[in-house]
């Protein structure tokens, strides 16, 4: 059962092959059996999951089931879930029982999806390896020595290990795509504004975007159909009819114009990763796509630009964590300043503190123009690069990450090296474009991801291109050893 895709599970539930309760019980059993090795869940909500499953079965009995009713999934622990701890991977929110549901949670509940639990993540989504979590590092199911990527590392590892058929994630600089790549699964970050940010704990508001992680593009489309949609509670939510993300899955690749940015294939790219990506491109050629080289000249500026904008926004977004209304509060504060400083000093981990400090500095008097304003100008140039490219091509392809999953601890002493590894994913967030990653092979036994970047609101075409590839290949069906 655990190897079935969402659409297969949907068909199985509809055909009465198994109930949601059985299905949910099966996945809960797998979590119990395997998650000790992976640490991909922060909270498992077994009891409420079974209750939701029974409710889904009842709904089905009444003939009111939707496509995903009764299917289990895992929620990244960044989405507020009423009555359930929502920690965001931080000691700061270790005691935070969210008093309301995020819009994404409401949508999932409305569709009858069953929440298995809340997945592990880098603290406040700040990290690319899942090592910054207060709840400990997550292991990569393909190699337990390796990181799963981050920040949605728990979601990616859980999907890859078949502990859940799908999961939600969020992506601020690559946090869906990079762990999807490193764990050999499929994940998509839609166009900024497609998925409501209400109830999704903010890291960098102008970059954050929720999206699905699943085993293939078809499943991502199904889950994105549920997650996306206009939300009046989010001012940045796009007011347009929710598209059918599954609509173009059947479209042939023939004639698709694929742009390969030369900057994505230069120095720093692991040759073994390059080879797997090039083979994937070759497959697209065989499927009839036209491949052209393009240029995104400001690519190298994306990381510096991002590391001003994201920390600046996070420094402000995280100010509400002050030990007054919720969250960690230090013992016996001597005065107000002591309350703030110790609650925050104790509640936040090192990487979060670093970024808050960088952002605070970048916004402070005398530096605003040189840092923040400059970064916003560069952001414009970076977005313009993509705009020009999409006049010539339908989609852009390249590696998701310059290397495969690295070993846990290998980069923890050098934040900058870790930041630079996000070079291919970060620009997409700055521009607000949709981007996805799908598995296209292995290097040294660890998965390689192909990134597809689309034009604004062109997710259906991207998902279609990925699906056509997945019809022709079987990388997405590989199962990590030990989790069969």
């Amino acid at each position: 059962m655990h190897n079935k895709t969402l659409s297969e599970l949907s068909a199985g539930l509809a055909g009465g092959d198994f109930s949601s309760e059985e299905l949910t019980g099966g996945f809960l059993a797998r979590i119990g059996k395997f998650d000790g090795q992976l640490n991909s869940f922060i909270t498992v909500t077994a009891e409420s999951a079974l209750a939701q499953a029974r409710a889904a079965d009842a709904r089905r009995a009444q003939g009111q089931a939707g496509a995903l009713t009764g299917i289990p999934l895992a929620q990244k622990d960044i989405f507020c879930t009423d009555g359930v701890r929502t920690s965001c991977g931080s000691k700061m929110l270790d005691n935070f029982i969210a008093p309301y549901d995020a819009t994404v949670i409401e949508h999932c509940n409305g569709a009858g999806l069953v929440m298995l639990g809340k997945t592990n993540m880098d603290e406040f989504a700040m990290g690319s390896s899942n090592e910054t979590s207060f709840y400990g590092a997550v292991k990569n199911p393909w190699d337990l020595k390796a990181v799963p990527g981050g920040s949605s590392g728990g979601s990616a590892a859980a999907v890859a290990a078949r502990l859940t058929p799908a999961a939600t994630g969020t992506d601020t600089g690559g946090s869906i795509r990079q762990p999807a790549a490193l764990c050999g699964i499929t994940g998509i970050k839609p166009t900024y504004g497609s998925v409501s940010r209400y109830g999704m704990i903010a890291f960098a508001s102008s970059l954050d975007q929720g999206g699905p992680l699943a085993r293939n593009a078809e499943d991502c489309a199904l889950l994105l159909n549920v997650m996306a949609g206009f939300d009046p509670r989010d001012s940045t939510s796009v007011e347009r009819a929710t598209p059918d993300y599954s609509a173009a899955l059947g479209n042939p690749v023939k004639g698709l114009r694929i742009g390969l940015p030369k900057e994505y294939f230069g120095a720093g790219l692991d040759p073994a990763v390059a080879q797997a990506v090039e083979e994937a491109i070759a497959e697209y050629r065989r499927l009839g796509a036209e491949v052209v080289e393009i240029s995104l000249p400001n690519t190298a500026l994306a990381v510096p630009t991002y590391y001003v904008i994201a920390p600046a926004e996070c420094s402000s977004n995280l100010s509400r964590m002050d030990g007054v209304r919720f969250g960690h509060r230090c013992a016996e504060p001597q005065n107000l300043e002591d309350l703030y400083k110790r609650s925050r000093g104790e509640g936040f981990g090192e990487e979060v503190k670093r970024r808050i400090m960088v952002g605070t500095y970048a916004l402070s008097a005398g530096y605003y123009d040189a840092y923040y304003l400059k970064a916003q100008q560069l952001r414009h140039l970076i977005a313009d690069d993509f705009k020009a490219a999409f006049e010539k091509v339908d989609v852009i392809m390249g590696p998701t990450s310059p290397s495969v999953a690295f070993d846990i601890g290998a980069r923890s002493d050098d934040p900058v090296a870790m930041y630079l590894a996000d070079v291919y994913t970060i620009a997409v967030n700055l521009a607000g474009l949709p981007g996805m990653s799908l598995p296209v092979g292995f290097a040294d036994g660890r998965p390689v991801g192909l990134q597809i970047i689309g034009n604004y609101f062109d997710e259906a075409r991207m998902l279609g291109a990925a699906h056509q590839y997945q019809l022709a290949t079987d990388w997405h069906q590989r199962i990590p050893h030990g989790f069969e």
Partner: protein, 95 residues
């Protein structure tokens, strides 16, 4: 741009973060490295480029004036560290 001990202390104070004296050199090193990375931005001439605050060229949506929220004080204060008579408690604020 290399940050010094006093810079780190200033920033930590602005951000209301308690950091131990022993950790300051490590913060100074890491933050300086990050700022060095960020410095690469200065190589580009951006004169005349409009700053981009939002990915989408959209405008603020407006909500009709009307009360849509009900009192949930008890629910919200269940997760509060210290409350009394419906008030959140903090160490004495001196005006």
């Amino acid at each position: 741009m290399a940050l010094e001990r006093k810079d780190i202390k200033n920033i930590a104070h602005l951000a209301r973060l308690a950091i131990s004296e022993a950790d300051i050199p490590e913060y100074a090193r890491n933050l300086s490295n990050i700022l060095a990375l960020v410095e690469q931005m200065q190589a580009v001439d951006t004169s005349g480029v409009t700053p981009m605050a939002h990915p989408l060229d959209a405008v603020q949506r407006l909500r009709e004036d009307g009360v849509t929220e009900t009192d949930q004080r008890d629910h919200f204060q269940q997760i509060a560290p210290a409350v009394e008579d419906g008030l959140y408690l903090v160490p004495k604020v001196i005006e």
